[in-house]
Symmetry: C2
Subunit: 424 residues, 2 copies
Amino acid sequence: MSQDPTPRLTTLPNGLRIVTRQMPGLHSAALGIWVSAGGRNERADQNGIAHFLEHMAFKGTATRSALQIAEAIEDVGGYINAYTSRDATAYYVRVLEDDVDLAFDVISDIVLNPVFDDREIEVERGVILQEIGQAMDTPDDIIFDWLQEAAYPDQPIGRTILGPAERVSSFGRSDLAGFVSENYGPGQMVVAAAGSVDHDRIVRLAEKVLGHIAPRPQGAREGARWQGLETRTVKPLEQAHFALALEGPGYLAPDFYAAQIFSSALGGGMSSRLFQKIREERGLCYTIFAQSGFHDDTGMLTIYAGTGAEDLGDLATLTIDEIKRATEDMSEAEIARAKAQLRAGLLMGLESPSGQAERMARSLAIWGRVPDAAEVAERIAAVTAADVRTHAERLLATARPALALYGPVEGAPTLQALSERLAA
Amino acid sequence: MSQDPTPRLTTLPNGLRIVTRQMPGLHSAALGIWVSAGGRNERADQNGIAHFLEHMAFKGTATRSALQIAEAIEDVGGYINAYTSRDATAYYVRVLEDDVDLAFDVISDIVLNPVFDDREIEVERGVILQEIGQAMDTPDDIIFDWLQEAAYPDQPIGRTILGPAERVSSFGRSDLAGFVSENYGPGQMVVAAAGSVDHDRIVRLAEKVLGHIAPRPQGAREGARWQGLETRTVKPLEQAHFALALEGPGYLAPDFYAAQIFSSALGGGMSSRLFQKIREERGLCYTIFAQSGFHDDTGMLTIYAGTGAEDLGDLATLTIDEIKRATEDMSEAEIARAKAQLRAGLLMGLESPSGQAERMARSLAIWGRVPDAAEVAERIAAVTAADVRTHAERLLATARPALALYGPVEGAPTLQALSERLAA
């Protein structure tokens, strides 16, 4: 792990944090601003505003038009983008090393100084309505939104990021400005950079541009309450899309690493149980996987597969049976393999500037610090088979699963039936 | 470009080539075998066999079961995968540096020694039929297959990679073995590795395992004949998916770089004409882009967008108008920006082992050599505005466009109407 110089962290007096990691040998850099404000910070009447705001950041600032923003970065061959999740909104750039100052200037400008021009709001509303249409035409994407809603109904964490079309159609300038003033305080922002970057230089840039913003309290987030419902959307698609979730631990829970090991062994790769049993032995699907997702106070073990309408029943019951079996007889060899996969993923991730900037920003937001790779590798290594078993028992002991179905799913088993099979 | 030690190339007596690039500072590696055999090497009655073979490589060799193949790589935290294109089939692994020998052993085993067990063929047939279903549920993926078919009807280059379900249902062991013996000769194979790798060591491994394969002639490929037809598939999707193509140059043509500059300025980024006019000014779509694709003897400028059924007519005619305008008044600033984007993409790509292994293998297959980054950067820099204009005129002078439509597209403009508008 000689390639892991400890990340450097500076906190400005107003609470804004700057974290960087110099990666020797690289001649490019990734840089961004991560704001701890996403779907979970929205009230019901605001659903979709965090994402709408992310779009508007690119539509003009006090000194740059939308075209000038794009040109500033693309003139030097860079790449600029953003995303909104339940927990955060991220604005980031990838550039060659000579253009890091420029990248910081543009990213900080779009986050701090968007103008919310009324005409641009109207146009962008159309773009977002198209984005909602595109999501509907991507079954293996939208199904995860529905699964989230079924797991946490009527809560900020359960609502979609894009928001319902009716809300998107009604947002205006004051809604955007209101969300910024409630959620975009310096204590909620992390500047993260990795690659060919100089920490002190980025700190100076951040002090100049972001140091003067007054701290403000961030509104409390509503705690997650897992429910475990079922949602089924019948449509004449080619495949029946199936997504199932169990409540798992959050980032802060002691079984955070055990959860990742369990999901990896269950459905993380080609040697995993779900892949072997359902695809390799039975040929019932092309895609099947399990993954762990985390928030601070809750998390999810998610399984997804796409199959033919006539095979959905088999696939669903086989999946339930594999989850059960995995909680009972996970072998030392499977656990060792899952640990090797987590460790290698961590080490390979150290070689990507974008991945590093993202990991550091998220670590800060979650734990208030950035564990170095050696520490994370030790924590992974320390997980025992007993820890994985304890985690698995906890998974089964919680509330019933959430289920989302999309496509020719009229004849799919009910959540009730699957829950009973899992509990039997 | 200090990070670009010239790639090292060795050709074995039987014609097999080994190309590697040591990337200082990295502790992982990407390694694979690229075979110059894909959809273009299939006769009509073989359509889908190259891809079926790629799947069967993972289903067992003389000494490893499917599970053992997956476990061998995943036990050390590695990642193994493959893809089939019209021109090639690639089998590749990403591992930490200590596991490069193992990675070579597994990859060469699955390429050389697949057993084509009858039961495994039956199971995998089901998997591929599911993969076809999944592709149909991914409109912004399948539409490019249909576009290719409309551009080059009734030719190997125009057929889909997955093949039609009827053919996939009929393939057996002798079809697979036949395709291997016709197309998997050592002269058609490149071993490519990048990252923390030692050239001489990989050459020794390759000599031992691949050095004894007897050379064999590769069957001639049918030359591409652009036609430019229209295909429209009506289905109740949320969006009308639109894809248009013009015939462009192949890899070997003098306007290879001019084509990339033109497509980048037309629709390659947020500052591009299509993005600005159609998304930023009009809000008619979320996704719109132009890209260049290449084969040795032909190529394509492709434009894709997804929009609402009621906006499809506007989007289509605006797109045609922007293509026309771009051929007439592309500015020096736009050309300079597109060149900066190509150059930066090249330099950033040097920092990714997977990207490097892929680039080297493809360069060898196409040009018989691997130009280093400095040479490519020079070629990009040398393109003039006049070169781009000449390229654009050639684009318009060729046969009419190909058009693919998917979704609620009953009311879409015809190819005839769009062609006339483009020619007007």
